[in-house]
Symmetry: D2
Subunit: 176 residues, 4 copies
């Protein structure tokens, strides 16, 4: 039997922010990159897996460079530059909101013998929440640091965090 | 309601052939590329979707260039050069044998209003058969042209075709 | 092509209410049965499908009688008597919160040519919300009547409804 | 970490045999019941899980008694009488060929900490093979005793066994 370990899941941070309130969300996202990168560095140091899972922007292509190029614009550029995956990070695309729906994520996590996830990213009340629900049904332990998710509306973000804490038994303490 | 249409599914043709009998299979694969590309051209002309779905070679990365670079070797190179996806073709990675398991394929097919699949590729008795089984359970009509799938062992390939025809009600007439 | 139609999905109404605040939720559930049964009667009259999907209470058995017997107690009995499935209603068990996770629901809905769901039941902020999220990712139109879902806490129920309306584009108008 | 263990999976043995060659298959099925029940007794003695997974015969109902009643006829009756689930056995319905597709099986196996399956039942080249493929993609070890699966055509059964052995790395030694 393998010792179980933790993976860092980074959701939809490669983003074009081309939607209502996108600029507001981008500002919050940029602020979060510092904390997320600190966590990411720790994962790299301990050789723990970092997994980006991202919308494909109707490209339906497993092509990370095309996705980053498509998303690049004055609003997103500082975020993408800061948070872009290192060559050792995993990168998967997802067709819908949840990181588990129609993706290889669960197979990858099994193969890596992961039983705990730190989930960060956007939007807290949509894709992160859907992903957290699906993780919970698959019996992963969850840590969703309150300072590493953001939503268009702060009240919605707060509600999502309460739901993660109460229903999904997630730890929501800020990191690092 | 949308008129339903057909998609071409190309399985594991971006391949390194680094396995037992890999060289034998590569020879069969190279021969098939002519027929597959003729079908592909017809799909391009009619603006019908062409979807590559491929092993990720333990890269777990949605990175088509990295996968092709990884697979490239003297045995695979002539095949990859001939069959490599055009810029308008879809490209998805799969974590296991079936094209539907842990992938966005079903979501993509729904979005494209597809109800019939032409399936081609490798290996006929493994990944193509697993994918065809899963397509059948999801109620797609199947055409698996006998001249466009290949297996290490021809007898196994023949058995897979019989199974597709008898159990999955697939059309196995050669194309084009 | 088949004309698409609507199904009624009744979630976790066969319930033992043996949990914190269970008695409070049972009172709300009992009140809802009148409205749910009015909708159910309309579905029966129009020969539209009514699908119960329910927790299995660790029986892991496709045995509707055993599940109803297990759930039966002074608190649940008036609800179960009122809402119990008719012989023509479908009845599926689910292993986790979402009605789609590890169940035959999606296959059944495809077979019945359903593209719209009316979802009712318990608990609004947990199993109904998880199910609604999964229905939305599978591209069903949703009507979740505000008077036909309930949660332990009314504020949580309200939040769930807002999320269904804003994120899942659900109609939440009361019925009938 | 929990010690991993083995489950016995009994596929489609509750069967009406109302299909082409059904009577032939029923004869083979009846013969197999002796071996399957010997294995089942051992599982009961060691308190290991026995899981029936079965077609629902268009009832779409989690109702084991209705399914057995529906299937009961002069051909099936001796088989159903011999092999019917004990009160402690699990019983799940499946909407399609594979025991994993649209069912709670994987969730149940995770909960029971199972990593190895003994698979028996009908038909060897269809539902058992589809189920075995899906089990293999989910990384279960497989034992499919050659004397405990049967298909309409013995040659097809033999081919399925070879495929399970060669592709799925299954042990196919007879039991007990």
């Amino acid at each position: 039997m393998t010792e179980k370990q933790t993976a860092l899941i980074i959701i939809d941070m490669i983003n074009d922010f081309q939607f209502k309130h996108g600029e507001v969300l981008a500002k919050k996202a940029l602020k979060m990159t510092t904390s997320i990168n600190l966590i990411r560095n720790q994962f790299h140091q301990h050789k723990l897996p970092v997994i980006y899972i991202n919308d494909h922007y109707q490209l339906w292509k497993a092509d990370i460079e095309k996705i980053m190029a498509y998303c690049n614009n004055p609003i997103s550029s500082p975020i993408i530059q800061t948070i872009r995956p290192s060559s050792d990070d995993y990168f998967l695309i997802k067709p819908k909101h949840s990181a588990f729906y129609g993706t290889a994520l669960n197979t990858l996590l099994n193969q890596l013998a992961i039983d705990k996830l730190i989930m960060v990213g956007l939007a807290g009340n949509i894709c992160v929440l859907f992903s957290a629900n699906d993780a919970y049904m698959r019996e992963y332990k969850l840590h969703i640091p309150a300072n590493c998710i953001a939503s268009n509306d702060d009240h919605d973000n707060e509600n999502a965090l309460i739901m993660m804490k109460d229903v999904l038994k997630a730890n929501i303490d800020p990191l690092p």
